[in-house]
């Protein structure tokens, strides 16, 4: 039943083929992913749902190159990326993949605009940075402005509300102009209204800019906002369906 999504003529934006992931703790081995085939088309917006422990976050980490699979392949635009060197994978994370987390994961020492700039700071050497920091700063301010944070540029994360922090985190993910955005329960810590705002923002990005998005959530209501839904159960893809 995975057929329509597994094989198409154009290369998928992001694809996993039979990925396996186990965690060993002592003598017991926990199989988190038992051969997951997942496919995100170009410009797609897929929600991954499942119960806690179904392996959806692990799948996202494998696709975001934060972790390496114990078997199978991860492909970005048809190119295998899970077996690249550490430096190459770092570079891909920095340029091609944007990530948003449930706990926002902003750096507490930096202001909102500095947090947004962090990926570019990581990308550029000191010299390069000084030649283009004005441009980068303008882009970051523009992004934050778009998310309604124009007045919050120089606030530290702890001075921001949850929704504001998550919007800063999305801005940070977008500053690199990634090809794909991976969001791991971005509304998990937010009240309904803020969460709806975040999802709306993601939806807008997908529709207006054609940004490919993978959204991991356990909330069926939120999942329905996506174009398609993949349900994971016990480390396997259970159903793939277009969203209602």
């Amino acid at each position: 039943m995975n057929e329509p999504l597994l094989r198409t003529d154009t290369a998928a934006m992001l694809e996993t083929r039979q990925v396996l992931k186990r965690y060993k703790s002592g003598s017991t081995t926990l199989e988190v992913l038992r051969g997951v085939d997942f496919r995100l088309p170009q410009g797609g917006f897929t929600a991954v749902v499942g119960q806690s422990g179904s392996g959806k976050s692990t799948l996202l980490h494998l696709m975001g190159l934060l972790d390496a699979p114990d078997g199978g392949e991860v492909l970005l635009e048809g190119r295998r990326i899970d077996n690249l060197s550490a430096v190459e994978r770092d570079r891909l994370r920095n340029t091609a993949i944007g990530m948003v987390f449930q706990a926002y994961h902003l750096l507490p020492e930096l202001t909102a605009v500095e947090n947004v700039l962090t990926p570019l700071l990581i990308r550029h050497s000191i010299w390069n940075w000084f030649t283009r920091r004005r441009q980068a700063r303008l882009e970051a301010e523009e992004l934050l402005d778009r998310f309604g944070l124009a007045g919050r540029l120089h606030h530290r994360p702890r001075q921001l509300s949850g929704g504001e922090m998550q919007r800063v985190a999305i801005a940070r993910a977008l500053i690199t102009q990634p090809r794909v955005l991976l969001a791991d329960e971005p509304t998990g810590n937010l009240d309904e209204e803020s969460g709806a705002g975040i999802i709306e923002a993601l939806d807008e990005l997908n529709r207006d800019r054609g940004l490919s998005i993978v959204l991991v959530t356990h909330d069926a209501g939120i999942a329905r906002q996506a174009r398609s839904i993949v349900r994971l159960t016990a480390g396997r893809v259970e159903t793939v369906a277009p969203a209602a």
Binding site: R93, H105, S125
Partner: protein
């Protein structure tokens, strides 16, 4: 770029890390101060040693010396004349110095050194260590009318530290002679009144009889060498008249002096708790010196001399050991002048080299010319080698010990950095998720260590130099606060703590401290770089 930014932010928000750097600061400051003071002392000591020892010392092995210094000097000139600035012959013999303090005889073991007043100042800094300004210009073994420094000319202070020297010289001599004459008259008058001599009078009589200034002539011409305190005059002394016999020529001690000598100041004085020098005897006083004659076996002879000045090199070893006398007087008294030819002998020839001349090279040249079994030729460094190397070793050991302080500080940095890495685990995960490389993550912490090291070493540098440059004011402040003497001038001959800041040493200390700071951040940095991104992100 993010490394710099994060380092800077961590530095500004993690003051606890600065606490670990305080020990680096203190270590660096201590090392700078201790090195400066040690170098100051060592330098002071070297100048003192060098001041009394000329560059090269050319000596005979025997106490009787070698004949004809003029010929030797010509030979030396021929061997290495182009590098020699000056030469002077000296005679040095062990001797006993006895002088009277109130009614007691004080005897000291000394090195009795005959020098040529005309040329000795050319080969060493001897002249500038004297207490009379005119003697510093040109040494004279004639007693001066007065004008001895009451303020130490080598380390000038506001208040005179040697008030006793104000009347030294002829005024002191005349006053003493007068006082002794009055005392004697009174004693004689009392003795006449009391009839039979009482024991106290006998005692006074005995003391007076033993006073050379009062009784320059004493017919006891032969003295056992073990009793130098016993009044004695060698036969060549022209003032032979005995006290009860007023006939014949008697020396008038108020107007005449014996052969002049310049003893080290440590032989005749001590410094009290207030830093004032107390003198047991002064220029103008007469002393007795017993010394061996030339020839085998040496016989002890003894003569009376008049102190004309004091010698102060600030090396207590020299200042409490050396007594200088005109070389020809010593040669004559020791019988070092050949009766037939009139050619004198000397113990050694002091050689001063021209500036920039190579000490060891000239020494080796002379060693080729003069046989080693007859002559010992050594540089001043050779002579004081053990002392100088002991000081060097002391400094090395001290530096190692002090560097351990900084090393301990390194472990403090290590511990605090591990804490910071644990605390920042999630942030490290975030940075990895955003594409930071392992090397980049490690770079944050290494850079942080570098920053802390630089801050610590910089603060230590400022503190160390501040203390070094104001060490004497600090000493005064501490003394004022506590009332205790920190730097006791009665122990040291310096009034000020000498310091020399050696830029190379300071540089090494700074580099070492920074390296230790970086080195101790390596382990936490590696640990941070190896953190697993997913696990780090899950860290709460």
């Amino acid at each position: 770029m993010y490394k710099l930014l994060l380092c800077w932010r961590y530095l500004r928000t993690r003051w606890i890390a600065l606490a670990s750097v305080i020990s680096v600061t203190l270590g660096v400051a201590t090392m700078i101060v201790v090195n400066a003071v040690m170098a100051g002392f060592a330098n002071e000591m070297q100048t003192r040693i060098h001041g009394i020892l000329s560059d090269l010392v050319f000596e005979s092995h025997s106490l009787s010396g070698f004949q004809d210094p003029v010929w030797h000097m010509e030979e030396i000139e021929r061997a290495a004349g182009d590098q020699i600035a000056g030469m002077t012959p000296t005679v040095a013999v062990p001797a006993m110095l006895s002088f009277q303090v109130r009614n007691q005889w004080v005897t000291r073991q000394v090195m009795f050194i005959g020098i040529d007043p005309a040329t000795h100042a050319q080969v060493s800094d001897f002249g500038q260590y004297l207490q009379h300004p005119a003697n510093r210009q040109q040494l004279s073994f004639d007693l001066r009318e007065g004008g001895y420094d009451t303020i130490d000319s080598q380390s000038p202070t506001e208040t005179p530290t040697r008030p006793a020297l104000e009347h030294a010289g002829w005024p002191h001599r005349r006053m003493r002679v007068e006082r002794e004459r009055l005392w004697k008259e009174r004693m004689e008058a009392q003795a006449d009144q009391a009839g039979p001599t009482r024991p106290v009078d006998q005692q006074v009589e005995a003391v007076l009889a033993a006073t050379p200034a009062d009784e320059p002539a004493n017919n006891n011409s032969e003295t056992a060498p073990t009793e130098p305190a016993t009044p004695a005059l060698p036969p060549q002394n022209p003032f032979q008249a005995a006290r009860p016999e007023p006939q014949g020529r008697t020396m008038d001690p108020a107007r005449e002096q014996f052969t002049g000598i310049v003893p080290g100041i440590g032989l005749a004085s001590f410094r009290n708790r207030e830093g004032i020098d107390q003198f047991l005897t002064l220029p103008g006083d007469d002393v007795k010196i017993t010394f061996p004659t030339a020839g085998t076996p040496p016989k002890a002879v003894s003569d009376t001399f008049t102190i004309v000045d004091f010698y102060e090199s600030k090396m207590s070893e020299y200042d409490s050991n050396f007594v200088f006398v005109p070389i020809n007087a010593l040669q004559r008294m020791r019988g070092m002048i050949d009766p037939q030819t009139g050619i004198p002998s000397v113990n050694s020839i002091q050689i001063r080299l021209k500036p920039g001349a190579n000490l060891n090279e000239v020494r080796d040249k002379l060693r080729q010319v003069f046989p080693a079994d007859l002559y010992a030729i050594a540089t001043w460094r050779d002579k004081q080698g053990p002392l100088l190397s002991a000081v060097d070793m002391e400094m090395a050991v001290l530096n190692i010990l002090l560097f351990l302080i900084i090393a301990v500080a390194g472990f403090g940095i290590l511990a605090i950095f591990f804490m910071i890495v644990v605390e920042k685990t999630r942030d490290i995960g975030i940075l990895k998720a955003l594409g930071a490389t392992a090397a980049g993550i490690a770079g944050i912490f290494l850079g942080y260590g570098l920053f802390l090291g630089l801050v610590g070493a910089g603060a230590g540098l400022a503190l160390g130099l501040g203390i070094t440059w104001n060490i004497n004011q600090i000493r005064q402040a501490v003394e004022w606060c506590t009332g205790a003497r920190v730097f006791d001038p009665s122990i040291y001959y310096f009034f000020q703590i000498p310091t020399i800041v050696n830029p190379a040493t300071v540089g090494w200390i700074i580099v070492g401290a920074v390296l230790i700071a970086i080195g101790s951040s390596v382990l936490p940095a590696v640990r941070a770089a190896r953190l697993h991104a997913v696990e780090a992100l899950r860290h709460e």
